[in-house]
């Protein structure tokens, strides 16, 4: 008996492909996607998917998705019949905590605070900083920076050409870099966990 055509798996593969690339696959790509070695077998699978309403023939015979794959209509959790659950519909657009704290994930790092020089900005030893790298800081941003080779967390203050790093603790003085200043990143959030 030949293995049954795994429609569910193929639909999933197509959805993932669409999410990644934003377009339907070519025949060749569909062949790879489904793990087939011949165009004929792809065509067979595609015909079935067309019959089931997942695909349609696009311009010049190319593969085109119906909204069952590209999801112009928002796909809400599976419901056997009737209307989607209202809770499901309402929660689709919620942010998770990471996305709330992190603006650009690829450029974001975590840093454990050492020292109390920012205590008046409510950043204490052991706190975790969410730091974004690769951006130019603005006046008043809290930055992670290396001054003449030493790493520190301070307010960034720019006045014309000169830069000062200002602590939030009267015990310490502002620092003006003599030789070098490297901005490691801009602090976007502070996390302090209790009772862990």
């Amino acid at each position: 008996m030949p293995p049954a055509l795994d429609i569910h798996g193929k639909v999933n593969a197509l959805r993932i492909f669409f999410r990644k690339t934003g377009r339907p696959p070519t025949f060749r790509e569909a062949m790879e996607l489904f793990g087939y070695k011949s165009i004929a077998s792809v065509q067979f699978a595609l015909k079935r998917l067309e019959k089931l309403g997942y695909l349609q023939k696009g311009a010049s015979g190319r593969i085109a998705f119906t909204n069952r794959i590209s999801g112009d209509i928002r796909l809400l959790g599976s419901v056997s019949a009737g209307f989607p659950s209202p809770a499901e519909e309402e929660t689709v657009d919620l942010l998770n905590l990471t996305d709330f704290l992190v603006r650009r994930r690829e450029a974001t790092y975590i840093l454990k605070v050492d020292g109390d020089s920012m205590i008046d900005a409510l950043i204490g030893p052991g706190d975790l900083l969410i730091v974004e790298r690769g951006r130019t800081p603005k006046n008043g941003d809290i930055v992670v920076a290396a001054v003449d080779g030493d790493w520190t967390v301070k307010y960034f203050e720019k006045n014309g050409r000169s830069v000062r790093l200002v602590p939030a603790n009267k015990k310490y003085n502002p620092i003006e870099p003599n030789q070098s200043l490297e901005i490691g990143g801009i602090v976007r959030a502070v996390i302090r966990k209790y009772g862990a």
Binding site: T21, R105, Y109, L128, V131, K193
Partner: protein
Amino acid sequence: MNPSAPIMLESFPQAILHFDGDAFFTSVEQSLHPRYRNKPVVTGAERGIIACASYEAKKLGIKRGVALHEARRICPALIVLPSDYETYSMMSKRMFEIVRRWTPIVEEHSIDEGFADLTGMRRFHRCSYEQMGRDIQAAIGAELGLTVSIGISLSKGLAKLCSKFRKPNGFTAVRGRHIHLFLQRHALKEVWGFGKNTVAFLEKFGLRTAYDFIMQPEKWVAKNLTQTQVEIWHELRGKSIHPVSTEEKTDYATVSKCKTFTAPSADFDFVWAKLVRNLESAFIKLRRHRLKAKQLLVALRFRDYQQAGMEAELNRATSVPAEAIPLLREMFETLFKPGEEYRATMVSLGKISTDRREQLDLFEDRVRIEKLEASARAIDKIAEEFGKHKLTQGSALFLQRHPTTARDEQPWRKTHLLPGETTRQRINLPMFETR
């Protein structure tokens, strides 16, 4: 033939970019731990052999594959770090994410290199292909603190040659009308896909450079070489044969697991237990990708880095260690020499195919096989909940005979857990250290 005559007049009928992280693992360490910057750093402390050497270390002659004691002899101040693959993988994913800002067609070739198809993106980004390459390089530098070497040309084969041309932090773009000049500067052995034998063969015909090769008529190439090499011929002539593939890599040729143990051991049961552990790990990876294997390769490494190995075929392709263990045992008993000390075992699974339900052989014990498969699924579920290798073959008990010592060092991240993290699960952001 006239070496100054271009082989084509166009500049970029298509534009393929290859990016290659420079000394990737150590560069990640230097990026996240600034105190390691500008110092000779290597990774691989946990296995006794260098996995990656920073450019500072390379300058001293310390390279990938060198034994650690040898490297320490060359440079006593060498910083030796255990590999932190979790963090390297996170940074690798970020690198690919950044490249995807320029084009959705990005291929993850390996953890530290990839291809991107930029064709047709000039109007959209309002800049040249070269500028896109520069921008990608700058973004990876600014956001990840890593340097990459970039090559842009008309095919994957050419782009790869370009990115190798200048390193580290290199940038090389070769347009169609300059291909002939570029290839004259490359010996045959530098061509991606040419092994020793191919090079030796071509040299018999008086060919020296990649340029000599592409100036051979297609007929000659087709007659004397394999299909793969004909494809290389086309790629080097600026015709893109291999498309940039966005699919996740699941068609592994082989899946290998190799673990070095701290103190070399002559203990039969212990070495066997290590080997079984590797087998289990290899099959876990196989099952994760819904694959099965029909071939089994075993290698044991002696104290002096000599190796002994053998391969054999299983009765049927499987994804379950228990099915391979009788054969593994037979091979191990043949290979193991009493009195010899061993420092590593390796298992490699080959002849891999996708794991689909299929007809069972008439003589196979169907019930037994289904039971084994069910047990493997249960093991995977338990691993999800409680961690890898919590439920294992009984031989694992022998692993405790030799407690791990200094060389089984943990990466920094695993010894600097945040509140709420465990040795198994850490937050999905890389940690920056400013000590």
